[in-house]
Symmetry: none
Subunit: 197 residues, 4 copies
DNA sequence: CATGAATGAGTCTTCATTCAT
DNA sequence: AATGAATGAAGACTCATTCAT
C-alpha cells in the first residue's frame, strides 16, 4: 500500500516476479495471484502495469529478445570465425546466466501461434531467430571471403549453428543436469570445426 | 469381432485427433470438446479411452518417444560416422514427416516440470534425450576407436549433435518457412565435420 | 443433475427464473448465480442455454417484443377508434398481467445504447415502439377516413397515445401503488377523446 | 476567496461531468474514473465531493427533481386548462433542453428499488410523479369547478397526462429520431382535448 | 459403449473505494 | 485539497470431469 513513484522500477519488479513464477510452475499453471504474491503486492496491482497475463509473458519475451539482440552487436573484433565462437559462447552464457528467463522460453515457444503467412505477433520468436541467423550468415560470408571456410557453406549452416545453441538450451531446460555452461565451448567447437576449411 | 474397430484402434483415432487439434491451437487452448469434435465423437467418449486431458498429451508424447527410440535401432551397418549421419538425417526426416506430432513437442517441452533430481514423469523428455545422447556417444566412441575422430571429442559433443537436431526442429516449429527437410543433410554435415579428425 | 431432454423447456425455465430475479433486484445487481439458484440449477448450466448475462436480458426483451407484436394483430373488428381503445387496454392489461416482465423493461430501457444512426441491437426497443406507433397511426388514418377524427391528427398523436400507455406503465413500475389495470380504461378514454371529432 | 471556485461550484462541475458520462455510456458502464476524466480531475477527488458512485446518480436525480418541482410553480395565470397545457409543454421542453439529464432518468428508473410499502429512497421518483400528478389533479379540479371538464374526470386522468409526457420522453430516449420538442404541443393537445367537456 | 447435460471449482479481470503523499 | 497507486471484493465466464440415460 505504499505510494511508489517509480513506475518503471515497480513494473520491472512485477515482471521479475512473473518470470520467477513462470519458471517454477510454467506459464500455463501460473495464476496472476501467484505473480502478485511473489511480487508482494495485491492481484489488482499487477493490472496497473500489465494488461493481462499474456502481456506478462510478452514482456518477458521482450526482455529476452532485447538481450538476444544485444549479443549480436557486442562481438568485438577479430577473425570472423573467432567472432562466431564468441557469439555462440555468449549466447550460451547469457542463457545460463538467466535460468528463469530461459525456462520461460519454453512457454514462449509453446504459445507461438501457427504463423502461416507473416503476421507480427507480440511473441515474434521467428524474428529473433531470423536475426540471429542473419548475423551468423554474415560472419560465415566474411569467413568465406577470407577463404577459411570449406566450400558449400551457406545460410543453412547458420540455421544449424543457431540450432545447436537452442537445442542445447532445450536439453538443459528439460534436464538441468546437463551442464549448459560447460557446453558453450563444445558448441562453438563443433560449429566452427564443422564449417572450417 | 468388435463393433467397428477394436478398442485400440478407436483409442488411436482419438489420439490422432488430439494431436491434430493440439498442433493447430496449442495444448493450452485446446479443449476436450475440440478433440472430441475432431474425432467425430462425443465429449464423454474421450474419457472412456483417456483418463484426462493431460493423458492425451502424455500419450502423444509416448508416440513420439517410441518413434524416437526406433530411430536408434535402425541405423544399419557401415562406418560409425556414416551411421551417425544416418541417425541425424533420420531424426530430421521423422520430425518433418509428422509435423503435427512435432508441433505438440512444444507443449510437451513447456509442460516439463522442474526436475531437480530424478523423478519420473509421464512426459520424460529428459529420458528421451538422454537415450539419444547415449546412442550418439556410442557411435562417437566407435569412431574414436577407429581413429577417425579428432581428439577431445566426448559426450558433450553428443549433446551438441542432438542439440543441432532439436534446435533446427525448434526454429522450424517457430517459423515454418525454415526448410527442415533440406536442413537434414546440413545438420549431418556440420555434426560429422565438426567431430571428424 | 438430471438429464433433461427438452432443451426448449429448460431454456424457458431459466429465462423465467431470470426475469423473476431481474424484476426483484434489477438487472444491474443480479448475478448469474442468482438466476441459477432461482432456476434450481448450477451456474454453469445457465451458460449452456444463454451466451451471457446480457443474452438473458435480450431474451426477456424478445418475449416482451413478441407479446407486444401479438397485441397488434388481435384487435378484432369494429370501428377503428374502438379497436384503438382495445389496443390500449390490451397493452395495459398485458403489462399488468406480467409484472415481472414489465419490471425488466426498466433495465431494457436503460441498456438501450445511444442509437445515433440505425444499427440493429439485440434490444431494439425503438423498433417495438415504432411498430406500435405504425399500428396506431393506421387506426387513426382509418378513423380519419370515416370522418370521426378531429382535423390535424397525425402520427404525432400516435406517439402520444403510445406514450400514455408507456408513461402509465412507468409510473406503476416506479410506484406500484398506482393501479395500472384500473388505468387502462382511462388511458383509452383520454386517448380516444383526445383525437375524436 | 476560495482558490478557484468554491466547493459548491466544483461539486456542480463534477456532477455535470457525471451526467455527461452517464448519458453517453449509461450508469452501469460508467466508471468513476470516466467521470473524473470528464471533469478534468483525479479519481480520488470525486470522493471529496460525493460519497459514492451511487451518490452521483442520486445527485443527478436531485437536479431533475428540483427542476421538475420548479415546473409546478411557474404556471402563471390563466384558465386551468391553459395552465395545464403550459405545464405539459414546459415539461417536454425542459426535458428536451437537458438531453443528458433526461437520458440519466433511464438509469434512475432502472435503479428504483421495489418499493412494496413506503420506504424513502434517495431516488424517490415515485414522489416526483406523485407531486406532478397532484398538481395536475389540482388543475383538473379547478377546471371541473369551472365546468369546462367533461364528467368523470378524476385523478386517474392526471396519471394519464403525466404518463403521456413521460411516455413520449421514453420513446425519444429510446429513439432520438422522435422529435420530442415538436411533440410538446401534441401532448398538450391530446391531454386537454381528452378531458375537456 | 456412447452420449451430452449438468456441475462447480478455478481464474481472469474490473473497478469502487481508500489513503499515503 | 488533490492525487493516483494500491487494494481486494465481486462476478462473469470456462471447461475438465462426471454420470444418468
Amino acid at each position: 500500500m505504499p505510494k511508489r513513484t517509480d513506475r518503471t522500477a515497480r513494473r520491472q519488479e512485477i515482471l521479475d516476479a512473473a518470470v520467477r513464477v513462470f519458471a517454477r510452475k510454467g506459464f500455463a499453471t501460473s495464476r496472476i495471484e501467484d505473480v502478485a504474491a511473489a511480487a508482494g503486492i495485491a492481484k489488482g496491482t499487477v493490472y496497473l502495469y500489465f494488461d493481462s497475463r499474456e502481456a506478462l509473458l510478452a514482456a518477458a519475451f521482450e526482455d529476452y529478445a532485447a538481450r538476444s539482440a544485444a549479443l549480436l552487436t557486442d562481438l568485438g573484433a577479430g577473425p570472423p570465425l573467432e567472432r562466431l565462437a564468441r557469439l555462440v559462447r555468449g549466447a550460451a552464457e547469457m542463457l545460463a546466466a538467466h535460468p528463469d528467463h530461459a525456462r520461460v522460453l519454453l512457454d514462449v515457444w509453446a504459445s507461438a501461434p501457427i504463423r502461416t503467412q507473416s503476421a507480427t505477433s507480440p511473441l515474434d520468436m521467428a524474428r529473433v531467430y531470423s536475426d540471429v541467423r542473419q548475423a551468423v550468415t554474415g560472419l560465415l560470408r566474411e569467413a568465406e571471403a577470407q577463404g577459411v571456410l570449406r566450400p558449400g557453406v551457406d545460410e543453412r549452416h547458420a540455421a544449424v549453428i543457431v540450432g545447436a545453441i537452442e537445442g542445447c538450451l532445450l536439453q538443459w531446460l528439460v534436464d538441468p543436469r546437463l551442464p549448459l555452461t560447460e557446453l558453450a565451448d563444445t558448441i562453438a567447437d563443433v560449429c566452427v570445426a564443422g564449417v572450417r576449411a
